[in-house]
């Protein structure tokens, strides 16, 4: 199929018939993000990396929900698991002789992957799908929050856990990330790498099978694909990424509390992705960044009503723009092209 043919899409369709321009736009977005510290300083540069990590969290959900049709209310649970892992590693692993933060990134990714694989394998092999899967992920969030609250000797309970800022190191060379700009760049690189990794997945054979599962799971099964394995792998990749993003969040925010694992935060992730458009990675990323910063701004202006505003927005999108903003933009573009 020629690339030109791929750009034309039926209105309202998830762009599996994918537009070619998205990576170009994405490169532009990352370039702008990379330039921002040269133009701004202070709070913007401090806070933006956290929103970018929310963007990664949103992309991890887009992989699961947009590509494979599995909605999860458990992403925050994995994000918090990553943050706590970072905290514990930095506190306890200093003696091992390697950079504790590196260790934390690897362990958090492994932990998320292993937990999601175990849970996913049993669920998907038993044919659990759709809303039943959603309910299980909801439970995962609650379990994560309860452990964070209950195991206070490890996690600090309601008081949360303080986490020292990580440093980069390579053999003897050490580079502390104390300044806002330095850790900003580390996170921009991580976000861009995640985006291009997920984009590569979505266009590979694996991604094509996921699209098939989203559209018609029984048919994919009848074509001889081991659907439970594909779904398990997707859940595992999604969870691993959410954990890694959480680990970086922990070291950036220097603090993690149980609410980071909670259902409320998980629901926010779903709202970002739904509003921005779940079928596009870039939309999910921008949704995570933009909607979470708007939420933050709103919560400062009107602490009582900001969640109501977000909720109404969510309902409107679900009612009128199933594909979210990305879907609407896409429909508009397709309309203009005739």
């Amino acid at each position: 199929m020629t690339e030109a043919n791929r750009t034309r899409v039926l209105p309202g369709l998830p762009p599996q018939v994918r537009r070619v321009r998205e990576p170009v736009v994405a490169i532009g977005v990352f370039a702008i993000l990379a330039l921002l510290p040269l133009l701004f300083s202070g709070y913007v540069i401090y806070i933006l990396p956290q929103y970018m990590l929310f963007g990664v969290l949103a992309m991890s959900l887009a992989l699961l929900w947009g590509f494979c049709g599995m909605l999860s209310f458990g992403q925050a649970g994995f994000f918090a698991l990553g943050a706590y892992t970072m905290g514990l590693c930095v506190q306890h692993a200093g003696a091992v002789g390697v950079n504790a933060a590196y260790l934390a990134l690897v362990i958090s990714m492994a932990a998320g992957t292993v937990i999601a694989s175990a849970v996913g394998y049993f669920l998907f092999s038993a044919g659990v799908r759709d809303s039943y899967f959603v309910i299980v992920t909801l439970a995962l969030s609650i379990i994560a929050e309860q452990i964070a609250v209950g195991q206070s000797q490890i996690t600090g309970g309601w008081n949360g856990m303080f986490i020292p800022r990580m440093e980069l190191s390579l053999w003897r060379w050490k580079f502390p990330l104390d300044s806002d700009a330095s850790i900003y760049y580390v996170i921009v690189v991580f976000v861009a790498a995640t985006y291009f990794f997920l984009r590569w997945i979505s266009r590979a054979k694996f991604g094509k099978v996921l699209a098939g599962i989203r559209e018609n799971e029984d048919r994919v099964l009848s074509l001889g694909f081991k659907v439970p394995l594909y779904k398990t792998a997707t859940f595992a990749i999604s969870a691993g990424l959410a954990c890694m993003a959480g680990a970086l969040y922990g070291t950036h925010a220097a603090f993690v509390a149980p609410s980071l694992a909670g259902v409320l935060f998980s629901t926010e992730v779903v709202v970002w992705v739904a509003i921005a458009g779940r079928s596009s990675l870039l939309a999910a990323l921008l949704g995570g960044i933009v909607v979470s910063s708007i939420s933050n701004a709103l919560s400062a202006i009107t602490p009582q009503y900001w969640q109501l505003v977000l909720g109404v927005l969510f309902v409107l999108v679900v009612a009128f723009f199933r594909g979210g903003i990305a879907g609407a933009v896409h429909r508009f573009a397709a309309h203009r092209e005739g």
Binding site: M1, N5, R8, V9, L10, L13, P14, Q16, V17, K205, K208, V209, A211, G212, E215, N216, D218, R219, V220, L221, S222, L223, G224, F225, K226, V227
Partner: protein
């Protein structure tokens, strides 16, 4: 011709109801067979046991001499048993090309041979010109054909076609018969077809098995079946 599939004493009970009762059936490689019968005769149940979507209560199924009675759907699909459902089961929001591509991906062909294979299959089911269109934009008949294309692209050896001409125009129905016959003749693809359209069945010139209340009522070519008093009473007379 070698025997491809054999079903022995196949019985399926749903609580009080016996949907299939001691059904015997066999099909050779490259053979086309029709299964007819009134509604509720157990035709779809029979197909579902062959495809693995239902487990028989008793009896055995052999494919190329291998006992596949307890084998799950996925593994049967990998052996080459592919099913077309009553309502077209395709990927509506993917393009026609992407639909067949998924089927070809399922065969594990090396990537440089995939595109040629997809094109070849699209040519066979006469959808080459639609290849870049989203599947939702196809006519009902074309979607039926696309699903047959999925089976071919998936390297099926035995196609289970549940009412493949449902919702088709007379012309589409005719070409569907031609397609099935040419696939059997040229590619040695076997097919078990459930149908109600009696003209379609007559044109296929394939052996017919009549099911009634879950049992095999008669077996033979079209003329033998049409002459059979029992079949007339239970089915053709309606």
């Amino acid at each position: 011709m070698a025997e491809l599939l054999r079903a022995e004493h196949l019985t399926k009970r749903f609580k009080g109801l016996t949907a299939n009762d001691d059904v015997e059936f066999n099909i050779l490689a490259g053979e086309v067979r029709c299964v007819i019968g009134p509604n509720g005769a157990g035709k779809t149940t029979f197909i579902s046991m062959i495809s693995g979507h239902l487990q028989p209560s008793s009896g055995r199924i052999w494919f190329r001499g291998e006992d596949i009675t307890r084998m799950p759907v996925v593994e049967r699909a990998r052996l080459g048993i592919a099913r077309k459902f009553q309502t077209p089961s395709v990927f509506n929001r993917l393009t026609v090309y992407e639909n067949v591509e998924l089927a070809v991906l399922g065969t594990g062909r090396p990537s440089h041979r995939r595109e040629a294979r997809v094109r070849e299959v699209l040519e066979l089911v006469r959808l080459s010109e639609q290849s870049n269109r989203p599947t939702v934009m196809l006519s009902h008949g074309q979607r039926q054909w696309l699903e047959v294309g999925l089976l071919i692209g998936n390297d099926a050896e035995l196609m289970l076609l549940d009412e493949p001409t449902a919702g088709m125009t007379a012309e589409e129905t005719h070409s569907t018969g031609e397609l099935v016959r040419s696939l059997a003749r040229d590619l040695s693809l076997s097919a078990i077809i459930i149908e109600h359209d009696i003209n379609f069945i007559r044109n296929l010139e394939a052996p017919i098995t009549v099911l009634h209340l879950g049992r095999v009522l008669a077996h033979g070519n079209y003329d033998e079946i049409a002459r059979n008093e029992l079949v007339r009473d239970s089915y053709l007379g309606h």
